[in-house]
Symmetry: C2
Subunit: 323 residues, 2 copies
DNA sequence: TTGTAGGCGTTATCAC
DNA sequence: GTGATAACGCCTACAA
């Protein structure tokens, strides 16, 4: 492997001159710089990242930690992050699984974005104590090295439930998410607040876990109790898709007529099901861009405040007004 | 940051003793090893990856290079790779974009898996010449440091087209993919071979690019020419989804009745559309596992042969027999 | 069994 | 302007 030493030899200069020239220092004449650059080019020189990192303590790499790779959920988020980072000279590494956390501890990455509930707060704080910086997308956690960029779950869940109420629905099922999920618990909390303000509602809570299978189970339960048109708020779209699947395959009920359904996330599938799913929308891409922006600011020692990602309601024919 | 030097100081031994103890060398007594391990634990020691890499030239990291993060296409593939690698002590880094190729050139990763047509063969060969090893999923490229793990596109496309023929269809549209895609060109080649063997077929080729939008455009074209039931073979599912979308939103035609549709890839969406899309299926997860296995073998200097991922046909109601 | 010393490829601080 | 030289944190002969 060709190193600056080789270049130095070929150019007849010292390695420090080569290093300066390569790094564009003005402590070296234009001519020597040009000569060195040319030789580096000819020799096909590429710097050794590990060596540089060892010295500079900066890898220009950012890691995003996901719980898993499944689903189409993260595509736009990743794209949003990547686009933002790449024009600023940073690379994005997508990581999943306990093992990849070595990257943080072993200082291979300059900062990280966390969307992985399997990280405990303690573990994260431990890394921060060692000087690491991170943006969290999935929890509230305060530390000088942590910035929060969270979804406005409260607004979204409130919007969704109030929409059902506006449409005249009073008999409403709520299909919840896993307690380990920050988003799920926040959405549920908002739901409960709306319920408190609307005591005349007839609410049934069904435990779910954000998977399609849970949606199917919930649908089975709902169908078995069915007597008159009702509304269902699935705390994410994936479960709502499960409801569609069960209802259309195993019952004579019709979504948007007997069962008025609303979800959360506006995943790609939501626009394909018939009738279109009413849901809560937000820009994954913006979320990613915002998170990266905050992280780079922190790496740059700027002070940052926590940020929020706003949401809107998307109407589909899966909810119609009652009566 | 605590380094082996600190441990050495605390333990009252030299740094080499610490290093040996940490690496489990038998050149150091059980007692000192135990003591050192205990101190390392207490001090919360983690090795610095860059320093180790600089010396050992092994990062235990594998990179997979994707063209983009969009779509749900890659989830299972990545999971398959990750699961295989992690039990063998390797980490997976998911990379996209030109910039992240630094990881290869700068020797941050031990090997890579390529599924990104924006890599040119020349560029790849260049890396291989520098000693890098890779498994390619998206091209035929021969080099001692390259192993191919390719989809059996020929079998799949042949299966698909012959299925349409078996069902009695003779008037068939083919919606093609981008010429830059290996899979697309292989599928098209197989299609042409089937056509040669069946000269009585009435074939119409429509240029596509593997996107949903292309499927919609193709559907518009097909609908405008429609007189009698026909069959359509979209060279991937995403375009087939576009066909569904256009046909159901803009025409009175019915999939599985007027338009008999078959795709390729069996993406998640395919099972949700009504009627279910007939398509070519293969295990993304196995593909990933196989690719990783081959790569690790190469890193281990074992000789490997190119591998093939087999495919099957999944029947859905989107194709019925004609007449 | 343990310690010493050199080196991995860079960068950075000095003299010259 | 340029060139020794000492780090960075770790590994590994080889010496003691």
């Amino acid at each position: 492997m060709v190193s600056i030493k080789d270049i130095a030899k070929h150019a007849g200069v010292s390695i420090s001159t080569v290093s300066c020239a390569l790094n564009g220092s003005d402590k070296v004449t234009k001519e020597t710089t040009a000569k060195i650059l040319k030789i580096a080019e000819e020799l096909n020189y590429v710097p050794h990242a590990a060596a540089r990192l060892l010295k500079t303590k900066k890898s220009n790499m950012i890691g995003i930690f996901l719980r898993d790779f499944s689903g189409s959920f993260y595509g736009d988020l990743l794209q949003g992050i990547k686009d933002f980072l790449s024009v600023r000279g940073y690379d994005l590494l997508v990581c999943s699984g306990a093992q990849s956390r070595r990257l943080i501890a072993e200082r291979m990455i300059d900062g990280s974005i966390i969307l992985d509930a399997t990280f405990t707060n303690e573990e994260l704080l431990q890394y921060m104590k060692q000087g690491h910086k991170a943006v969290v997308l999935d929890r509230e956690l305060d530390h000088s090295h942590i910035n929060q960029v969270l979804l406005d779950n409260k607004a979204g869940a409130t919007l969704a439930l109030e929409y059902l109420i506006e449409q005249g629905h009073t008999n409403i099922y709520i299909v919840t998410g896993p307690t380990s999920s920050y988003d799920a618990s926040q959405r549920l909390r908002a739901v409960k607040q709306v319920i408190e303000r609307n005591p005349m509602l007839d609410i049934h809570e069904i435990t779910g876990d954000f998977t399609k299978a849970a949606g199917e189970v919930a649908a089975k339960h709902i169908a078995s109790e069915y007597t008159t048109p009702i509304a269902v708020f699935c705390l994410n779209d994936e479960m709502a898709i499960g409801v569609y699947s069960y209802i259309s395959n195993h019952t004579d009920l019709v979504i948007g007529e007997h069962i008025h359904l609303i979800g959360f996330d506006n995943i790609e599938l939501s626009q394909f099901v018939q009738p279109r799913l009413t849901t809560i929308n937000y820009s994954m891409r913006k979320w990613g861009a915002l998170a990266s922006e905050q992280l780079l600011k922190m790496l740059n020692d700027e002070t940052v405040d926590h940020e929020r990602v706003y949401v809107t309601l998307v109407e589909g024919a899966s909810v119609r007004s009652s009566g």
